[in-house]
Symmetry: C3
């Protein structure tokens, strides 16, 4: 099973993965040693920088007894002009499954078409990042018990941010309402907004973050990523436009969750870290159990009903 976009999963399949992930929590925390993937090899192909995604896949595989091959552009044949097709043929010979992050949109699908081993998209340029969406959904369910009926505020770069593109569609499918907060130059692409609405999602757009806080169940902050901007001047205009500190949260529900795919630069002030609103570090950790569930599913390995 490949995972290139969230559209590769039905709602039931997504929920089933999240339930597997919940079962795997003691393994993810290192409390239980469960070598379900012993003898399996994961190719971790990162043609673009990453820390959390790469390391959480690596931890997920290793805590399940599997092995990891790391390949980055540094020190590889990609520099000698090798095509992605040829690189994938090689990896298919050396690994049982591969994760790929690539700066070019569509690269993960191309890689999946080139080989028969399962391919998991870990971000393809401005395209998709479905494993981030899975861990985000997992985290919201952890905090609120459900996704249906929640009001989720997505904040920041909604134009170039692949994370919020995947996430908004998934939240819509699970019955959340969405508030989209961005400066005019970074609004959510209108075809996505149109799709969300035609799916029956309650969507509103604004550039004012503070006004959305009293009714929010989840505030999903994002970093405005310099590397996605075609023009540096355009970046400078909007850098640092949305920030939250603990004083901004006085009107919020006590169980309002603040999330962030990390790394943050200054979007969330450290004064929030010690509040009950801070979910972003738990969210980063949740990459481990969700990716464990996905690795097992893709490799056809059954997760035991009860894990002690």
């Amino acid at each position: 099973m490949d995972l290139i976009t969230m559209d590769d999963l039905t709602n039931d399949e997504s929920i089933s993965l999240l339930e597997d992930a919940m079962k795997l929590m003691p393994v993810a925390r290192g409390l239980t040693h469960l070598p379900l993937l012993e003898g399996k090899v994961l190719g971790n192909l990162f043609f673009e920088n990453s820390t959390r995604t790469r390391l959480s896949f690596e931890t997920a595989m290793k805590r399940l007894g599997g092995e990891v091959l790391n390949l980055s552009e540094v020190g590889s044949s990609v520099k000698k002009g090798e095509t992605l097709y040829d690189t994938m043929q090689m990896i298919e010979g050396y690994a049982d499954i591969a994760v790929i992050r690539h700066p070019r949109q569509g690269a993960a699908q191309y890689a999946a078409d080139a080989v028969e081993i399962p391919i998991l998209n870990a971000g393809d340029g401005a395209g998709n990042h479905p494993t981030q969406t899975l861990l985000d959904l997992f985290t919201i369910r952890q905090g609120h018990g459900t996704i249906e009926g929640l009001r989720v505020v997505l904040v920041g770069d909604l134009r170039y941010g692949r994370t919020v593109h995947s996430l908004s569609r998934a939240l819509s499918r699970f019955g959340a309402s969405l508030t989209l907060v961005s400066p005019e130059s970074l609004m959510m692409p209108q075809e996505i907004v149109r799709d969300l609405k035609s799916d029956g999602c309650d969507v509103s757009e604004t550039s004012d973050l503070i006004s959305t806080l009293p009714s929010a169940d989840v505030v999903y902050m994002t970093r405005i990523q310099r590397e996605r901007f075609p023009d540096e001047a355009e970046y400078e205009k909007v850098a640092g436009i949305y920030t939250l500190n603990s004083q901004d949260l006085t009107s919020s529900h006590s169980n309002m969750m603040i999330m962030h795919p990390l790394p943050r630069v200054n979007e969330i002030h450290a004064s929030i870290d010690s509040t009950s609103h801070a979910w972003y570090f738990k969210q980063a950790f949740n990459g481990v159990p969700t990716r464990m569930a996905l690795l097992c599913r893709s490799l056809g390995v059954q997760i035991p009903e009860v894990i002690n």
Copy 2:
């Protein structure tokens, strides 16, 4: 046991390694988990870029239950001016066996002389690359059942290409006939041709690739490597001189094998990939079982007669 050049192995020892490699195929494919090297540590020392060689050694070790330490020039003490002698003393303390790739000819032998753990040469400048030769021999036997009596065409940079130097001597020893195809500036060094002939090998030289195709059993293409040329202008004259596409193969035997150590740039057109002539991806995979066999041999670990 060190492996620095193919001369370190008798024909019988080579054949025995290839037979071990054949037995290990299910382990190399990940179909069987056989932790023969559990508790062993491989030092993977790459002072020059590599992808296939590094990763296939890593996969070989890990699929056999062993551990791998990766060391490259980036982020290491080599930058602080450490000698290879001192680096090897360190590695001997941390690993049970080491693979070394180094830009300087003779470096692998130097490393082997410096320590007592087994050293496997993974390419030393324009010198040798014996594990590539082993996997090439394995692949030819896989395709034709034997090496004796085959007509093998070696194509491209025969002057600087360490791969074809090692391979031509080995093919000669196993009774193949050789056709050497290169531009004048990249001909096989005359002392090697002389040695081949005095070994009784049937060797011919030409610059015309197409004329060799009807009678070839194996066509071994190579990349003309920019990094081996002392002079950029000399490189530009011959870059891209030999290419094959599926239409060139109409006169070939149906079981003619096209091989390439990879990465290819444009030597072999993608139209060949789906033909029965395309052996280069299988060849890359074959690095795993052959290097498994070699790791076991060098570490004194017996391979079971029957592997299920």
Copy 3:
């Protein structure tokens, strides 16, 4: 248990660690497979280059059956402006224990305060490097059976060298006498000398290495590290000032030990390598058993009384 400076350990605790390390020698050498740390994950965080320290922690963990995540500044979110606090929160989610090397003094303590998993300082700028001190003490005990009453000569950059700062205090606590050899511009900071003396340590200072050799039990050479100097010209004045070759040792005791944290540049001539004075390569290896002992201690894993 964190280890940030040697002050975190009482003398008894240090000795107990060194005794554990001695028991673990057959495991460190790869003669015995003892997977005491199976299922555990070590985060190896190197924000500054290292070879021996990184690799010996990696070998220590792997020979004990544990797993390692490597994180360096290259290819990580640190480049995207992530704070050390946030990086540590992430690592706490992915690993059971972490080793950190960082160019900034105080960084290891900061990291330890940020998370609950054990943190081991592998060098923080001009600050501390306690695991180097442990392996140095282990090596001296291996050579002389004790530390008490020995005359240890510390040579080279005593001003910026964190290794000799940690080591001098520890040697003093264990009853060694110290001779400090450096050029005037690189003398041991006077507050450290004062502390050593007020501890009752017999300390003398000189710039003449040769005169110290007849009475020395241990000569601890260090590299004068270009990267620690604020000013290149100041470095050039003292580079290469202290060197030893085998002829300098004619007046020394036969069991005088020469040590060096490595890499050496030209401080110790190769003619010494084959003499009984050469302990620096054993010292590098000793990083494995001492770090094994420390990993077990920090993770609360008991070492068996008898290891075969």
